[in-house]
């Protein structure tokens, strides 16, 4: 069985490295995009099983990317976990309104992230 694909969408190299480090031992193929527009393009091309999406990014932010994903039949049901900060508490409602399935707050806890991903992937 092919490894599940997780698409990591974030403009911060530090966060991307942290996410990749946390997930290194999990049986997932990790894909990377560095803004919302690239995230949408990669999702349409690579058909990930789950997307970790940052909120504030250049060119296209997480909420707009999420709305585009939900508006496309090919990506309308892919699980999306928003990655937010405590300062972005007000934006979490926007995330749900845009179609996210869950959220996680930075700094990302490895046990929490792995548990949420396993739950959302049915593992």
């Amino acid at each position: 069985m092919a490894a599940r694909k997780i698409l990591l969408v974030d403009d911060s190299e530090t966060i991307l490295q942290m996410e990749q480090m946390i997930l290194a031992k999990e049986p997932y193929e990790l894909l990377v995009a560095r803004d919302g527009a690239e995230g949408v393009a990669r999702a349409l091309e690579d058909n990930p099983d789950l997307i970790l999406m940052d909120v504030v990014m250049p060119r296209m932010g997480g909420f707009e990317a999420l709305r585009q994903l939900r508006g496309n039949q090919r990506t309308s049901t892919v699980p999306v976990v928003m990655v937010t900060t405590k300062a972005e508490a007000d934006s979490i409602e926007t995330g749900y309104a845009s179609g996210c399935n869950d959220y996680i707050v930075k700094p990302i806890d490895s046990i929490e992230l792995i548990a949420k991903l396993r739950d959302l992937l049915g593992d």
Binding site: T77, P79, K86, A89, I92, E93, Y96, A97, N101, D102, Y103, I104, V105, D109, I111, E112, A115, K116, D119, L120, G122
Partner: protein
Amino acid sequence: MVHPTSNPISDRMRSSPAGGASERAAAYLHPGQLFVSADSHAVTTILGSCVAVCLWDPVTRIGGINHFLLPTFSGQGIASPRFGNIAIKDLLDQLAELGSQKHNLLAKMFGGACVLEAFRQRQNHLGMQNIEVARELLESESIPLVGHDVGGQRGRKVVFHTDDGSAWVKVL
């Protein structure tokens, strides 16, 4: 918008949280945190698969709320209120420190959604595990669960009033 639950919690939940809000200080609860107060507070939190247990003492009007993400601390990592068993114990301890009486405490519980339609038939999804841990611990502590809005498939925004235990839920 009010969640059309088949388990109505109270009439207060079917109205906007604005009632009496000006008399209460506002607080926001992030995942893994808990909040207790002997003063009147309106505490807001947003739940997906996470669960919030709300406890209050109607005699002393002391109350609190937690927001946990995972059911049980297994010994790996730090024993934080991210875990349900830790979060509920800490909530009880902190309420007692403020002067609440455990035999007076009442509970409400929210959250534990299964946010993916494909897995809603599973009984062991993370949200359900969180709900069960909370139920078991409240039962073991003999704290009546007088209201709940749990499970389902959508996230929730919850506003809990620490002084009188009233709560407002908005489905997201």
